[in-house]
């Protein structure tokens, strides 16, 4: 019985947590449409955030997805070579990168860079009473801190995903050329033939949702920070772990949905 009660309590906590995320997103949206802040400054903050979370992530996202592209090509070639189907490397790389790994790897990098930073920033502001200060100045912390982050992530995550698709395919291409099975031109044509627009849009939709989830989790963990510096550390860790878990879960759901949709089409 004890076990059942614990499972029940854990389920209740999880539902409440997800409810909190939705609420945060909802109040951010409300701010966007009925902004008590003047819009130009909201946009200004969003652009600043976009530079940090998006443009700042470009080098590391590029490096990692390039390597992942090479790795997929290597792993694919290992098996495809035995079947004498090396020309399929290009389509293997392009489809797995655009539909799955591009958005996912981007999300993981952004969680590490920005999800954790959101939690640490807001958590520190909780500890130093800066959140209280905003409130006593009649400024809504959600409008001031969270809405710009949602805006920035909603724009930058899809952009980063498309960029990582491109770099990942480039990584596969490097292997294709190095292995002597492709030229740059033939690899490009093979990739173009393998991909349909749907593959890329699938990835973009995933990236957008990942971005919103990462922001919501990072900010919620920040707001729920208790007193003391060690609490900020706890929030940051929790933001990263929870975001990774949720991103993978959502990825599973989306991939299943896209698979089923394809089956009926």
């Amino acid at each position: 019985m004890q076990f059942v009660a614990e499972v029940g309590a854990a389920t209740e906590r999880s539902v409440a947590y997800v409810g909190g995320l939705a609420q945060l997103f909802g109040s951010s949206l409300r701010v966007l449409f009925r902004s008590p802040l003047k819009r130009s400054r909201l946009a200004h903050r969003a652009v600043h955030q976009a530079m940090v979370v998006g443009v700042g992530a470009l080098p590391i996202v590029s490096l990692i997805t390039f390597f992942v592209g090479v790795i997929i090509a290597l792993q694919g070639a290992y098996e495809l070579q035995r079947l004498g189907a090396m020309q399929l490397v290009a389509s293997l790389v392009s489809i797995s990168i655009t539909r799955e790994l591009g958005p996912l790897i981007t999300a993981i990098v952004v969680i590490g860079r920005s999800g954790s930073a959101f939690a640490a920033e807001i958590g520190t502001m909780r500890v130093t009473e800066e959140l209280d200060a905003l409130e006593t100045m009649a400024l809504d912390p959600v409008a001031f801190l969270v809405t710009p982050k949602f805006l920035a992530m909603a724009v930058m995550m899809p952009c980063l995903a498309v960029w990582s698709d491109f770099i990942g395919v480039l990584g596969g291409c490097m292997f294709g050329i190095a292995s002597g099975n492709f030229t740059f031109g033939s690899y490009t044509i093979a990739t173009r033939d393998a991909l349909v627009a749907h593959d890329v849009t699938t990835g973009i939709v995933k990236a957008l949702v990942f971005g919103l989830v990462i922001t919501a989790v990072g900010c919620q963990e920040g707001f729920s920070t208790g007193a003391g510096a060690e609490e900020v550390g706890r929030s940051t860790t929790s933001a990263v772990v929870t975001s990774i878990l949720l991103v993978i879960l959502i990825d599973l759901v989306f991939t299943t949905l896209f698979y089923l949709a394809r089956g009926t089409a």
């Binding site: 008590p36 802040l37 003047k38 400054r41 920033e121 520190t124 502001m125 130093t128 009473e129 800066e130 209280d132 200060a133 905003l134 409130e135 006593t136 100045m137 009649a138 400024l139």
Partner: protein, 269 residues
Amino acid sequence: MAAPAVPSPVISARDLRVQFGDREVLHGLNFDIFHAETVVVIGGSGSGKSTLLRTLVGLEKPSAGQVHVKGVDITKASSRAMDDIRKKIGLAFQGGALIGSLSVGENIALPLLEHTTLQPTTIEVMVRIKLEQVGLTGFENYSPSQLSGGMKKRAAFARALAMDPEILFFDEPSAGLDPITAAGIDGLILDLKEAYSMSMVVVTHELASAFLIADRIILIDRGNIVAMGPAQEVRESQHPRVRQFLDRVADTTQDDDVDHLRMLTEGLR
């Protein structure tokens, strides 16, 4: 509305109770704070004085009782009504609580930018005036992390003053400062008292500065008001807890420590 014969208070608390979980921190406080007076709330650590301050500005919700600020009951006010009141008050936090991602000048400009339609150039001038008033001329472009403890408090004063508040709250203005800097802060509060006709509520445990700046003193002990009155009256009070506090006598029993431990362990439960 005809002017009342008796001045109406800017803050009026009736049977104010605040509870954290099932532990009551403030046990039914009654007091009034009038226009243009400086009230200093003193009390030991854990007496509930900081909770009182947080309740008066709406950061904590009372569990019972009423608090009228500028005639509005903040225990029942909507969030919009609360925001309207907050635009008329300023709070200088103990650690400054300046927004770390903004410069000192931007911190002071923030409430003006968000709540007024003033031109940026006007705001710039106002920021400079406020900084000058607190003795931080020329520090607009510094980041809060570059300021010393005393300067942070001064910058926090400037931000609290930005909207020309009718009530100004100070949380431990001289805590954690060396005697010279603390005296400077006391002098600054006296200057502000002279320059503006606003009500000031100062929470502190520094006796010397309390008697220096106060018109009236409220002494809080374990969530109850044990003494309230003009500074001189409180200084001469014969109430045992007041004497103990003013004469800096340690508690003979360990009750306080046991209470404190119980409070901590109950919090963990």
